[in-house]
Structure formats: structure tokens, C-alpha cells
């Protein structure tokens, strides 16, 4: 090989090596980029819907905020700080489903934590299931179900038939109207200024607070095991009351008349009971506790 051809060959080899090195570098960089978590990257998806869509949300951990707007569109936005959670969405006509899934290695709650912000038409049906992380729903009108383990739930200005099932999450219902069924083991339940015409709340060790007016044809059943049940009434409210605590006290600030509707209520052999009618007794209120205290308090 001549010197010239040797130099040419060497130069060519260097060039090929440089290309290889560049390609390798690019590949390594690509791998690094692919493996790196997309830190708190916000992703948005839009779904055109007709009126009254049904939105289903599944999340294991993280915040879920649902609010309403006047558009016929569902906007789903999410962030996953670890970048390891996969969010799957599906639309079939007026049904939109959103599910956050951890990877198959089994992520910890921190890794799979995904925060959702979902905007839906005012008239929408919601179905939310989550384990931990708070859920808030504002100004949505439609039937709703919530199934949580430890997630706290806050509903504001919502209307519809609401079913809540939680293990130890709390429920705060601000200005809720329609029908509410809530079941918890150790979560507290608060209803502030509700306009409900049907209420059935049960919690074992949690407290129950009802601070609102009673609809004239409403039925309100509140039951717990060991917490406090507190009902605030105004002097213009009209309801029949039956309050029973087997091992706890019943504290009553109201001036009730004897209940003249239906069957008489004989004094219970056990525990503390109270029956009476306020004004015409249009609504029906049943309060029951095993060992907790029941308070019937006059609103200021």
C-alpha cells in the first residue's frame, strides 16, 4: 500500500468510525430520553360529545378534579410526576373512559400517582373510582357514583343521584341537591346547605353533620355506629323525627310535638330514643347510632 492510499484508507476509516460514534451517541441519547421520566408533563385530550355524556375515571392514586363548562366537549388533562403511569382513554359516542395504569412491575402509589383535571358539560354522568387522593366535583348536574378507599371527596353545587362508597375517605357535600347515598366505615360525612330530597348516610366510626333544610317530601336517614350525628334545623322546618342511640345520648334542642303520623313510637327498653314532629312533619328524619351521640341542634 502506498503512503497516499494508506492515508486515504486511514481517513476513510476515521470517517466511518466518526459516523459509528455519532450513531452510537444518538442511540444512547435516544435510550436515555426514552427511559427518562417525563417529569410532570401535562397531557390534554379533547372529546367532542353530545349532551349528557357519561364519563368514567379510574385512578389508583392522585387528585381528580372535575368541573363543568357549557361546551359539548370533555377535556381530560393529566400529569404524572414519575412518567411511569400510562393513561388510557377511550371514547365511544357519548361515553368517555379514562384510566391511569401503573406499569406491570407494580408501582408504588407515589410512582403511579396521576393528577387529573377533567372538564365536562354541566349535564354529565360521572363514575369515579380511585383508591387514594382527593376527588372534587364542582357544578356538575347528573348521576354520579364514587368508589374510593381512602380518597376524600368534595362535592360542590352538584345535582343528581349521587352514590358514594368509601372505606375511610370523608365526604363533604356543599349545596348538593337531589338524592345522596353514602356509605363509609370510618369516614366523616358533612352536608352543608343541602337541598336533598332523599338522603341515606351510613358510617361506622365517622361523624355525620347535616346542616340544611328538609324538603317537604324528603326522607333523611343517617346512621352510624360510634361517631356523632349532628343535625341542625331551623324553626320553620317541617319534619317527623325518630332518633335512637342504643348506648349513647340524644341531645335535643327542638320543641317537638308528639308524632301524629302513622304508628305510635313506644319508648324503647334500651338506649335513648326520641320521637316527635316539628310543624306539620312533612319530611321524615331518622337518626340512629349504636354508641354515638345524636345532637338535634337549632341553627342560629
Amino acid at each position: 500500500m502506498s503512503a497516499t492510499s494508506y492515508l486515504r484508507a486511514a481517513s476513510s476509516a476515521r470517517a466511518r468510525n466518526a459516523v459509528r460514534a455519532s450513531a452510537l451517541g444518538a442511540a444512547v441519547a435516544g435510550l436515555i430520553l426514552a427511559a427518562a421520566p417525563a417529569h410532570a408533563e401535562r397531557v390534554e385530550k379533547h372529546f367532542a360529545v353530545q349532551s349528557k355524556p357519561k364519563i368514567t375515571v379510574r385512578n389508583s392514586s392522585g387528585r381528580i378534579q372535575v368541573k363543568a363548562w357549557t361546551r359539548n366537549e370533555v377535556l381530560v388533562a393529566w400529569t404524572n410526576a414519575s412518567g411511569k403511569s400510562v393513561v388510557e382513554t377511550e371514547q365511544a359516542g357519548n361515553r368517555v373512559e379514562v384510566a391511569a395504569q401503573g406499569n406491570e412491575d407494580g408501582n408504588s402509589a407515589d410512582v403511579s400517582k396521576t393528577d387529573f383535571e377533567i372538564t365536562v358539560p354541566v349535564e354529565s354522568e360521572l363514575n369515579v373510582r380511585t383508591d387514594s387522593g382527593n376527588v372534587t366535583v364542582d357544578s356538575v348536574h347528573g348521576d354520579m357514583t364514587f368508589d374510593t378507599v381512602g380518597a376524600n371527596l368534595q362535592l360542590s353545587d352538584v345535582n343528581g343521584y349521587m352514590v358514594v362508597k368509601t372505606i375511610d375517605g370523608s365526604l363533604v357535600c356543599n349545596r348538593c341537591s337531589g338524592k345522596l347515598e353514602a356509605n363509609s366505615i370510618s369516614g366523616n360525612v358533612q352536608m352543608i346547605q343541602p337541598s336533598l330530597d332523599s338522603l341515606r348516610v351510613q358510617t361506622s366510626s365517622g361523624n355525620i353533620l347535616f346542616d340544611g333544610s328538609f324538603s317537604s317530601r324528603g326522607i333523611y336517614i343517617m346512621k352510624n355506629f360510634s361517631g356523632t350525628i349532628e343535625v341542625h334545623f331551623s324553626s320553620s322546618d317541617s319534619f317527623d323525627l325518630a332518633a335512637n342511640s342504643l348506648k349513647g345520648d340524644v341531645i335535643n334542642q327542638a320543641s317537638f310535638k308528639p308524632d301524629t303520623h302513622g304508628a305510635p313510637h313506644p319508648a324503647s327498653k334500651w338506649g335513648h330514643g326520641f320521637f316527635g314532629t316539628m310543624n306539620e312533619g312533612h319530611a321524615k328524619v331518622e337518626l340512629s347510632s349504636f354508641s354515638g351521640t345524636i345532637k338535634i341542634l337549632k341553627r342560629d
Binding site: S60, G106, L246
Partner: protein, 228 residues
Amino acid sequence: MVCEQFERILEQQEDDTLPKPALDHLETCEACRALSADFYAIHDMALELGAEGIAPPERVWVSLRGQLEAEGLIDVSVQATPQPVYRSAPGWWTVFQRPAVAGAFLGIVLAAASAVTYLSNVPQTAVQSQAALQQETSYVPSADSVFKEEVLTVGNDSIPGLQRQDTAVTDSIRRNLQIVDNFIAMCEKSVREQPDNQMAREYLYGAYQQKAELLATAMNRSMTGGLQ
């Protein structure tokens, strides 16, 4: 046919007849034979429970106990009397993790709870004679004992849902199981002290139902990773 395909067919079939490829597979696969046997056993139990209305037959619970013991879901040490253990396939729990089967189990539990609750409510809706009261009290403890022995002894430490990595959820379920267990103990004490205290009795049944639902939630969260 592979096992996964067979399991799908087993899940989806609505009558007792398996297609020929599935039957062929069944002949050659011991695991699927065991799976199929367990599936039909639970299916039959659910049917029998529905037919008998109020109290599930003892063998339902015996069989369930055997299967739960085999999977280590029941703490055998707390059983009052030894019961026959029905050996099942090593992968029996995979059957339990199938929604249809878990649903059948939960159905059994809740149906029994409902039956017990129904019995407790009978006196409220009918004129109650002393004889009826005695009859009721003779039925209810039997159902109570079924729950105590077969469901409530499912050990808190062996709930499959507690295998999850989300410690907050795990802790929550454990904590609330403890709460419900305490309530059950308090209610049982009240019922023992005041057997005709209807309110105490209702709270006891309510606590039983809560425990069943909590266990179902734990299983459900375990099966689906908490996501479905």
C-alpha cells in the same frame, strides 16, 4: 389449545357444555381440570344457595372453608373444631381472582347476610307472637355461627388485597377491618346480653355485611390492581 384460551372459554360459557377443543385440553391438563372443577363447584354452590333461600347448606361452608384454608386465607388455628380440608389445585387462588368466581363468592356471602337481615326484619313487619320470636332467635344464631366460622375468621393478615404496594390503601383496609371487627365484638356482646334487643341485632348484621363488603373490596382491589 393453551390454558389461557381454556380459561376464557370457561369464563364465557353459559351452559354446562364445553366445546370439543376445550374438552380435549381438559383431558391433558391437570391444572385446568382442577380449575374447571372448582369453577363448577362454586357455581353449583351459588345455585343451591339460591334454591334453598335462607340458610346455605353446611357443606357450602365446609367446601369454602376447605378452599380458603388450602390457600392460607383462613387462620386454621382460630377454628373451633377441625374440618375436612378439601385439597384443591395449587393455583386455586387464580380461580378466586377471576371476577365471575369472586362475584359468586361475594354473592354467597351477601346473600347469606341478606337472608340473616331478612330474618331479623320479619318481626318488624308482622304481628309478633312469642312463638315467632322464639323461632326467629332459634334461626338467627345458626346464621350468626355460619358467618363467624366461615367468613369472619378470614385472617386479616392474609387478605389478598393487602399484598398491594400502595401502603396507604393497605393500611386503610387493615385499619378498617379492625374497626369493623371491634364493632362486631361489641354488637355480639350486646346481643348476648340482650337477645331480644332488635336494634343491637340489626347493628350486628350491619357489621357483618360491612365486613363482607370490606373483604370483597380488598379482593377486588387485589384482582384489579385497584384500577379497574
